[in-house]
Every structure is written in structure tokens, then in C-alpha cells.
Symmetry: C2
Subunit: 264 residues, 2 copies
């Protein structure tokens, strides 16, 4: 599974403070710990107001690139921010995210093509997040097809069918799974991704729900996740899921993971 | 999910000793703790040699029936033992198990019909456990159809598609899931059951693998499990799985479970 480390996010209080005070050692440490834990990408999200965001994100990118060689996942709702920050990037990573809102694909896909970045594609448009799986599949299809016009391959698109919290909609994860299966059926090359902790928002014992959702999402074709790679139980669940799904001959990956964990 | 408490099993050393020394308080305590933890049935397995088994199982049954009102799951490979012990039973429960080995269905199903017991049906015959899902489905079909001849309804059959350890066969759980789905498609009324800890035999961190298998099995229609009901993390996973599958409106069962757990 492709793991995107979620911890450098300015909407979290401690990270926000580190951004405001330009505390580079705090951010560098967060980057290193996630990279050491096996993150394939480090998400960087400034979470600051539009007028400050490009400068803050540039600072974050420079600090993280100084600390680790792991590729970055640039996280912003504004294509303009991507355009300002991308020239600083040392290596290809991911743009998080594009949506089907008017004008957005036309701005994000050319940037992804120019800088050879993958793109996280959220299944929402100007009407918001669709309630049903079918509309999400249609939005995903539209985005994959639009991406193709700019030369973005299926393999470089990470569709997020957007799970919302079970607290307000008890079929939220079911709809995600249905959409994921159908999107993988239509476009076998695309990745399915989830920022999965939304699923448990407002409920007790969130990590249990997140883990359980991960197992069912993985079985439905989800092969990437924006998670805390320091959550050992969650990471262990990933290896166990691939083992149980029959994707780990001789249990090699599972046993390797277990030995690394034991030797810590 | 229907939970069958597995702890009174004479193949476990402490239980074996309790059987040998007729330590009824030890057995009664095991029964009570499982009933308190929410077991729907208490499995009783003497695990002793054929010549001693009926007497030992009768003793276990009497001790457990004295301690709790929970129905029993009589566990023996020998139909002759069922015939000897069944007259003692105060209320209907389960017979664990029947197989498609020659002569077995003809002995077990009439007893189940007479005593109004459900039957755990293992998908194996004189050739052993089939490697593929298809043969397991065929054996299950044969057993369901044979049961019907004796008046056993689908709802009283608990098919166990027999997961073996992933340590020697990395597709063992995948084959189980495939068989479970197809059996449920053919016979929507039957239950799917698993003595799920076999899946992790010989591997490290077994409880993680068991939990992960439970999530995927449940998603494939498994609605009964022979487990340790005192394993809190496993039981929590059951509630979380039903929540994530969209089967728990208003998260009512999950929140109730959580409150009970917190109030302990």
C-alpha cells in the first residue's frame, strides 16, 4: 500500500504554531519520523489563509526537502498555490487535489503534466459531495478522461471517493466501497486513495473504526491512504490485510514487517 | 454476529486437567465469563479418547447447564457421542459438527431433527479439505440438500468453509471468502461460521490476523464465529465491522457496545 504521511498539516494546532514561528526543527522532525516509519510521500499542508499560503507552503517544502528525500504530496485547495510552489520541488510527487469544480481540472492537470506529478482526484463538483456511489463514479470518470487530454496516465491519478463520517451517515463507508469497486472496474490503472480518518469523526474509539475501514477499503481496491504512519496498529493492519487477501506469498512481507517491529 | 464461546475445549491443557480432576468450579467459571461477555452459545468439547468422551462430555454439559442458561454447542467428531449426550440437554443448541464423510450426515441430521438442534457443517469429505473454493461449495450444497431431507431448514445450518493457516497456504482466507460468498448466494438462509483462529496458526501476532480475517469474512457473509468472547479487541472489531458495512443505523449498536465497555 502507498502511504502518504499526514502529520505536517497546518490545521493541527502544533503544526500551525511551528509554521507561524518558523520552527524548522519541529517540522523536520515530523518529516523524518514519518519517512523512517515508511511513508512513501510526505503530505505538506499549510492550512493558512490564501494570502499567506504560498509563502508558508514554500517554507514547509524547503524544510521538508532539507530533512528527507521522500517525495512530497503538496496539499492545497488552490491551483494558484501549486503554481507558485511547484518550481521549488526537487522531485516528482503528488498534487492534492483536483476536483470537478468548474475551472479546476483545467488549472491542475497542466501543472501535473509539466512537473510530472501524480494527482489526487476528489469525487466532488460544484454541487458538493454526491450522496450516492454512481455520481461519484461519474465524476471520477470525467476527471480521468479530462486528465488523459493533458497526457496524465491512469497510473498517475489517485481517485478519492470521499468517505464522510459514519456518525451522520451510516452508509458512508459502504458508498465509498461501492464507488471504489466500480472506479477500479472502469479504470484498472488508477489508484484509489482515502484520507480515511474522516470515517470516524465524532465517534468514540476512532482508531478502531479507521482500521476496520482500511481493511474493507483495501479489499475493494484502495491501494493508497493518507494516514499517520506512526500509528503502529494501523500500519500492522495494512500488512495483515494484504496477507489475509492472499497477496503475500510465503507471508514474506508480513513476517518482515513483524521482525522490523520486534527489533525496535 | 452470533458468537460461540470456544474456551471450554479439552484440547487446551488447563481444561483437560479440569476434566480429569472433575474441577467443576473451573468449568462453571469459564462458562459464566463467556456468557457474561455476550456468547450466544457455549462450545463444549471434551477432547478425550473415544472410550472416555461421552462420559466427559456429559459431565461438562451438566456443569455448564448448572452455571448458565446459554445454549450449548456440542463439539465432537463422533455422532455416537452426540446420541449419548443429547438426552441431557435442557434446550436446543448446535451440533458441531457434520461433514460429508460417508455415513456421517445420515447419523447427525436425524439427531439434529429430533432434538431441534442447529448443525455446523464442515466442507470436507473422505478426500479431506478441498484446496479450491468450488469443491467446498459443492460439498456445502450437498450437505444443505441432505439436511433438507431430514427437515433441517437452511437457517439451522452453519456452514464452515474451513480456513486453514496462511502460514502454509497464503490464499487460504481468499478461498474461504470465495466459498462463503458463493454458498450465501446459493442458499441465502444458511449461516456462515468459522473457527477463525486456524487462519493464523504458526504466525506471529495471531490476534491481529484473526481480527483482520474476521472483518473480511464478515463482509463476505460470515455471520457466526467460534471465538474467545473475552478477547475485547476481537469483539470490538465485530461491532466496528458491522458499523463500517453500513448495518448499524445511527451507530446505535456500536455506541451501546462502547458505553458498556467504558462502564466496566
Amino acid at each position: 500500500m502507498i502511504i502518504i504521511g499526514e502529520k505536517i498539516n497546518g490545521t493541527l494546532k502544533a503544526v500551525q504554531e511551528a509554521i507561524e514561528t518558523r520552527n524548522s526543527s519541529y517540522i523536520a522532525e515530523l518529516a523524518k519520523r514519518q519517512a523512517d516509519a515508511g511513508a512513501d510521500y510526505i503530505d505538506v499542508n499549510a492550512g493558512t489563509p490564501p494570502e499567506r499560503e504560498p509563502e508558508d507552503l514554500k517554507w514547509l517544502v524547503e524544510v521538508v526537502q532539507e530533512a528527507v528525500d521522500t517525495p512530497l504530496c503538496l496539499d492545497s485547495p488552490r491551483p494558484e498555490t501549486f503554481a507558485e510552489v511547484l518550481p521549488l520541488l526537487k522531485r516528482p510527487g503528488l498534487l492534492n487535489s483536483v476536483t470537478a469544480e468548474p475551472g479546476k481540472p483545467e488549472k491542475v492537470f497542466p501543472l501535473a503534466a509539466t512537473y510530472k506529478f501524480g494527482v489526487v482526484a476528489l469525487t466532488l463538483d460544484e454541487r458538493g459531495i454526491p450522496k450516492d456511489a454512481q455520481t461519484r463514479v461519474e465524476i471520477a470518470s470525467k476527471l480521468v478522461e479530462q486528465g488523459a487530454k493533458y497526457g496524465i496516465r491512469e497510473e498517475d491519478i489517485y481517485v478519492d471517493p470521499l468517505v464522510v463520517t459514519l456518525a451522520t451517515n451510516h452508509t458512508a463507508a459502504k458508498v465509498f466501497v461501492e464507488a471504489a469497486r466500480e472506479i477500479k472496474r472502469r479504470f484498472p490503472g488508477v489508484h484509489i486513495i482515502s484520507g480515511l480518518s474522516n470515517v470516524s469523526y465524532g465517534l468514540p474509539y476512532r482508531r478502531l473504526i479507521n482500521r476496520t475501514f482500511l481493511v474493507l477499503g483495501r479489499a475493494a481496491g484502495m491501494d493508497a491512504a493518507i494516514i499517520d504512519p506512526l500509528d503502529e496498529e494501523l500500519v500492522a493492519t495494512i500488512w495483515a490485510t494484504e496477507l489475509v487477501l492472499g497477496e503475500d506469498p510465503y507471508c514474506r512481507n508480513y513476517l518482515q514487517y513483524y521482525r522490523r517491529r520486534e527489533s525496535k
